[in-house]
Symmetry: C2
Subunit: 73 residues, 2 copies
């Protein structure tokens, strides 16, 4: 259940990034993260901290409540 | 700015807990956390992981999107 919540968060981030026409490479670069690390977040494999999720949302120009809301659906 | 975001998250958790008439002690107990640790989350001093915030929201019977939404206002 919580596993799946991280997956939903990751999915929401991925679809927002794709909406922007941004590659994982570009997103990772903006965040100063390694692409494989960023990719593992989108795949729901990383239980990141609040500030990290917030920073990702900022770089993807989306509100965190929107991402969390999609994950909770 | 990100510091203050954690403070806003903490405030939102605190007001929800108070709405329930729950003490920090009770909330911490339900979460299996030490009271001082739980207290430091409400004071915005801990950058907890997504699953931890989700678990706190579940114990406080509130949606995480609501807590995040209040913090983003």
């Amino acid at each position: 259940m919580q596993e799946s919540f991280l997956h939903q968060i990751g999915q929401a981030l991925r679809s927002r990034r794709e909406e922007l026409g941004m590659t994982q490479e570009e997103a990772a670069q903006r965040l100063g993260m390694h692409r494989t690390y960023y990719s593992s977040i989108e795949r729901g494999l990383k239980d990141v901290r609040i500030k990290t999720l917030r920073r990702i949302c900022e770089k993807l120009d989306v509100r965190m409540r929107t991402v969390v809301g999609k994950a909770e659906q």
